[in-house]
Every structure is written in structure tokens, then in C-alpha cells.
């Protein structure tokens, strides 16, 4: 699977000034191929998360296009775009993303039940929880988990649907060294199995696992 960004740009209006904008991301071209793992690093506020959200179909760019294989994501209607994100893109946003009323296992199963009426793939979910090291917490509630455990739950969830593209925003934030390495190995393995992976991270260790490391600075992408 190929994901390609062409001339992606994002302007945001400045608070309180209706006619004034600031550019969070200057026009960027980016290509992420199946089996490739790209790391984007950079300071806070450099536009990394904005770029990732535009690539995931969550944030409409001011200019430019995003193609998933040959599909122009932003030419799709909301329903079709959501469906594609569910089936083909595993997105790990920043922070906690759990539904507090569900157990950890049920949170991991969520992407499946959105569009499927069949029995949810519990075995696969348990296997993913095992891989991220929180299988013993499958029946726990999210409010019983630490920040790092919640991140690992989100990582397991992003992989449930075997997406062709994984977009991860600070996936290792709050993890200890051992778990950071386990998560990075998991991403590497997914890439080796054919997934296209884009990591936005401050984690130095990630460079050892990525095929390419890019840096965002002031909304611009540099090698």
C-alpha cells in the first residue's frame, strides 16, 4: 500500500484575528511505501502532528492532496473516508483514546465492531495485547491503567484490523525503555510484513528501527 502526500499545506486562523492566518505546515510532498517505516522528529509545535492528521484523513488540508494507493482521500465523502480510515489506516493519536465504559480488551476490539456484526476477533485482540505487554490487563478498565499502558492499548487497537498504513503520534510517550523497544520492534515487524508506517516521535531510539528519519522544523520537512 502506498500513501502519498502532494503539496500538503495547513493554515490556521489566529485566535481573535479573523483575517490573519499562520501556516502550521508549508507545502510538503511525502511518499510512504508498503514495508517502509519513516520517523518524523522535530520540536514541539513544528507541525508534525498536523501533518500526520492530514495524512490520516482527519484534518482537511488548506492545500494539497493525500492519496492512498490511487484514492484521493479528500475527494471522498465523509462516510467513505471514515470507512477507509477504519479498514486501511491504523491511527494512534496523542494522549489517551480509551472509552472509559469498556474494558481494555473491548477497547481494542472497537474498530472491528464499528462496521461488522460478526463475532469480534477476540483472539487477535488478546494476541496484540500480549505483544504490547498488557495481556494481564485485558479485563481492566482504562481508569485503572497508567498513561504508558493506555498508549500500548492504543497501539494494539491500531493493529487490530491489519491496516496497510499505521500512523502513530508519539506512540512511545510515557513508556519505559523496555516497553519502548518492544513497541518499536512491533512496528518494525509490521513494516517488514508489508505495512507502511509513519512515526511521529521524540524518541531517539526510533531512528534505529526506521528506514528513514525526517525532521520537521517550522512547518517544513527536512532530511
Amino acid at each position: 500500500m502506498l500513501i502519498k502526500a502532494e503539496g500538503l499545506k495547513k493554515d490556521f486562523p489566529r485566535a481573535g484575528k479573523s483575517s490573519n492566518f499562520f501556516t502550521a505546515v508549508y507545502p510538503i510532498d511525502l511518499e510512504l511505501k508498503a514495508g517502509q517505516m519513516i520517523e518524523i522528529t522535530g520540536r514541539s509545535g513544528s507541525g508534525k502532528s498536523t501533518l500526520l492528521n492530514m495524512i490520516s484523513g482527519m484534518l482537511t488540508p488548506t492545500e494539497g492532496k493525500v492519496f492512498l494507493d490511487d484514492i484521493d482521500l479528500y475527494s471522498l465523502d465523509e462516510k467513505a473516508l471514515s470507512r477507509i480510515r477504519n479498514e486501511k489506516i491504523g491511527l494512534i493519536p496523542q494522549g489517551h483514546t480509551a472509552l472509559l465504559s469498556l474494558t481494555v480488551l473491548e477497547n481494542v476490539l472497537l474498530p472491528f465492531i464499528l462496521y461488522n456484526k460478526e463475532q469480534a476477533p477476540e483472539e487477535r485482540a488478546k494476541e496484540l495485547l500480549e505483544k504490547v505487554g498488557i495481556s494481564s490487563l485485558e479485563n481492566a478498565r482504562p481508569n485503572e491503567l497508567s498513561g504508558g499502558e493506555l498508549r500500548r492499548m492504543a497501539i494494539a487497537r491500531s493493529m487490530l484490523m491489519r491496516p496497510g498504513v499505521i500512523l502513530a503520534d508519539e506512540p512511545t510517550a510515557g513508556l519505559d525503555n523496555e516497553n519502548t523497544l518492544a513497541v518499536l520492534e512491533l512496528f518494525r515487524k509490521a513494516a517488514d510484513e508489508g505495512a507502511a508506517i509513519l512515526l511521529v516521535t521524540h524518541e531517539n531510539e526510533a531512528a534505529n528501527y526506521a528506514d528513514e528519519v525526517l525532521t520537521m522544523d517550522g512547518g517544513k520537512l527536512v532530511e
Binding site: 502532528s49 498536523t50 465523509e78 462516510k79 493519536p93 474498530p111 465492531i113
Partner: protein
């Protein structure tokens, strides 16, 4: 098993405190709409039953009883009373032009003392001339003809297994019991003149009757009058008032008018409370639901990131709103039925009117209307939240607070 269908229920369960608050306000709304309308309907039914059972065009009572008696007092208030006038008034009234039928009644009240089973209103009628009580007796299952010391009791009078009720140490046999009217007629004991005379004499003997100077054979308490077909009831009532001394006259028209005024007054008050409670319940439901969804916008943004479209988010929100409102609404209806059935007598006494619950069909219809009202609230609150969600920038929400 987790599914999109049961996700709203899981969410409601997961936020138990706020769900309980929503349930309570939905309950409050149906209690207001369903319960309030039931109260109005119950009062109307009670008064209609009383009116139909009154069965006379005109009632005549002794004028010296006027201060302590009016027809509505006897019919609608709890305290038993009695008063007497000379039996000769019956013939005087019967001679008035336009009067077709007259039938005397004799009132008596049992004592609170140990000689009586309970403090009750006793009403004696003359089976030969009565046209107002016997029609209901015909509709009531009785154990044969009413003889000496036989009584028929109102629905509130306790009937023990031996079917004996005691007044002034005299035992009476209960031969039947009337269906409820919601009025103090339900606390009455009906008998013939021979029986009440025995009881009046027994009350004299015990010194428990303030009218001991009267001869029970020559007194009556009131006269029920049916006017001749085509006669003007008001004119006949005026004629009686003018031609018969020492009596007070009340027409059924006046009574109905008085009843109508009470009903309008009560219905007005209950309607105001119903509307106030419903509006408060609806506003609170909308407020709590909207605030709850605001707090959970990160959850909705996460669902968006997983690929949930606006239709799915709307389904979850609508499912939660309708489930909690329907459950609360049904609970409110059940609560109203239980409270109104259990305390209908107290409610009637509290309001000072007769109270008879509406029929099952009417209750079902009212329940449906009340449920439609809470469904409307659910629709409004979910519409507001869905509107907010559709304007939400999920990517921004996920970045906030991190």
C-alpha cells in the same frame, strides 16, 4: 459480546452517576405529565361518578343544617354528619307543582366510641319511594333483599369474614358493597328506615346523639326530588324554597356548577405544576446530556480516529438519549401508577374531591403521550449533541489537553 448496538447501553452503564441523574429527570417528566393528567382525570371521574350517583334533580335539607351542610360537603368531605327535620315536610314538598317523585333519606353517623366498628356516615332510604340509591344496588352483587339490620357498604368500608358491622352495639349484616366513587360515598353505610331507626334509638340510649329530642319515626334528613318531565328544575327549586318553610334547597345544576368550578381550579393548578415540572425536567435532561457529551468529546474524537463516521456517532448518541429517557419514562409511569393506586383515597381527601382512577385504556393512552414527550426530549438533546459533534474537529480535540 460487545457490539455497536449495545455500545450505548455500555456507555450509560459506564457513567452510572450521570445516567442515574438523567433517569431521575426523565422520571420526573413522566410523573408530571402522566401522573398530573391522571390526577386531573381521576378527579373528573370521581366527580362524574358522584354526580351520576346523586341521581336527583333537587335535594332539600333542613335550613338549620345549612351552616354545617351543603351537598358537596356531604359528598366530598370526610367527616360524617347528621341533621333532622319533620317528616311532614315530605308531603309539603310533594305537593309543590313540578315535583314528580320525592324520596326521604335519614342520615346518621356512627360514633368513634367502642360500641361502633368505625366512624361512618349512615344513609337510610325508603325502598318504596327511592329512585337514587336502588339503581346502584341493582348493579351491585348483594346477598338477597335488604331487610331489617341489613346494610350495603361503600367501597372503603372494611368487610370482615363474618360480614358483620356493629353500630351502637347493634350488629348489622353486610349484604353487599358498592364499587368506588372516590368520594365520601365510599365511606357510607346504606340501610332502610327500619334499621336506621333501631340505630338512632340505640344512639339515644347511649347518650351519643345530640338530637335526642326527636322521634325517629317522624324525622327525615333530606328529600331527594325528581322533577316532572318538562318542568324547570330551578323554578321548582324556587317554588319549594318559597312554599316550604325551614328548608334549604340545592339543585343538581348548582352542584354540577360547583363541582365544575372545583374541577377547573384543581385542573388548573395541576396543569401549571405539570408544565413547570415537565419544562424543568426537559431542560435538566438536555443540560446534563449535553454536558456529559461535552466531557466525552475525546471519546468521540477517538472513535472518529478509529473510522467511526458521523452516522455511527449519531447512532451512539441517539441510542443513549432514547434508552435513558425511555427507561426513565417507563419508570416514571410505573411509579405514578403505583403511587396513585396506593394513595388514591388520600389524594382525594387531600384535594377535597372525589378521585377515581381513569380506565386502563385511558391510562395506556396517557402513558403513550408521556412517553412521546420524553422521546421528544431525547430527540432534542441528541440533536444538540449531534450538531456539536458534527462541528467538532476531532484532530484538534485529540491534541487538546495532552
Amino acid at each position: 459480546m460487545l457490539s455497536l448496538r449495545n455500545l450505548p447501553f455500555r456507555n450509560l452503564k459506564g457513567y452510572a452517576g450521570r445516567t442515574a441523574a438523567l433517569l431521575i429527570f426523565a422520571m420526573l417528566m413522566t410523573v408530571a405529565i402522566f401522573g398530573g393528567t391522571m390526577v386531573i382525570g381521576g378527579v373528573r371521574n370521581g366527580l362524574e361518578t358522584v354526580e351520576s350517583r346523586l341521581g336527583a334533580d333537587i335535594m332539600v335539607t333542613p335550613s338549620d343544617a345549612k351552616n354545617e351542610f351543603d351537598a358537596q360537603t356531604v359528598l366530598l368531605q370526610a367527616e360524617p354528619g347528621y341533621f333532622y327535620m319533620d317528616r311532614g315536610k315530605l308531603d309539603e314538598i310533594a305537593r309543590v307543582e313540578g315535583v314528580e317523585k320525592v324520596s326521604p333519606q335519614l342520615f346518621m353517623a356512627s360514633a368513634k366510641a367502642g360500641c361502633c366498628s368505625a366512624r361512618l356516615q349512615m344513609i337510610a332510604f325508603d325502598p318504596a319511594s327511592d329512585f337514587s340509591i336502588q339503581p346502584w344496588i341493582a348493579d351491585t352483587a348483594t346477598d338477597g333483599e335488604m331487610g331489617l339490620m341489613d346494610v350495603i357498604v361503600g367501597s372503603n368500608v372494611t368487610v370482615y369474614e363474618d360480614r358483620i358491622i356493629r353500630f351502637y352495639d347493634k350488629e348489622c349484616r353486610i349484604i353487599g358493597q358498592f364499587a368506588p366513587t372516590g368520594s365520601t360515598l365510599d365511606n357510607c353505610v346504606y340501610m332502610n328506615f327500619d334499621t336506621v331507626k333501631e340505630l338512632i334509638e340505640a344512639s339515644f340510649a347511649k347518650g351519643l346523639n345530640i338530637y335526642s329530642e326527636y322521634d325517629p319515626d317522624n324525622v327525615i334528613s333530606d328529600v331527594m326530588i325528581k322533577v316532572a318531565p318538562g318542568a324547570d328544575i330551578t323554578a321548582v327549586a324556587e317554588a319549594i324554597q318559597n312554599q316550604v318553610s325551614g328548608v334549604s334547597v340545592v339543585t343538581s345544576k348548582n352542584m354540577v356548577s360547583g363541582i365544575g368550578d372545583s374541577l377547573r381550579h384543581i385542573a388548573g393548578s395541576v396543569s401549571v405544576f405539570t408544565v413547570i415540572f415537565w419544562i424543568i425536567g426537559m431542560l435538566m435532561t438536555i443540560l446534563i446530556f449535553t454536558l456529559m457529551m461535552n466531557e466525552r468529546k475525546r471519546e468521540f474524537a477517538s472513535l472518529t480516529a478509529m473510522g467511526a463516521g458521523k452516522g455511527i456517532l449519531s447512532g451512539i448518541v441517539t441510542g443513549e438519549a432514547f434508552s435513558v429517557n425511555l427507561l426513565g419514562g417507563i419508570a416514571g409511569i410505573v411509579l405514578s401508577v403505583v403511587i396513585l393506586s396506593s394513595f388514591k383515597n388520600l389524594i382525594g381527601q387531600g384535594l377535597g374531591v372525589g378521585f377515581v382512577l381513569p380506565s386502563i385504556a385511558t391510562m395506556l393512552l396517557l402513558a403513550l403521550v408521556a412517553l412521546l414527550a420524553v422521546i421528544l426530549t431525547a430527540a432534542i438533546s441528541s440533536r444538540i449533541v449531534i450538531g456539536k459533534l458534527s462541528r467538532m474537529d476531532a484532530s484538534l480535540v485529540l491534541k487538546e489537553g495532552e
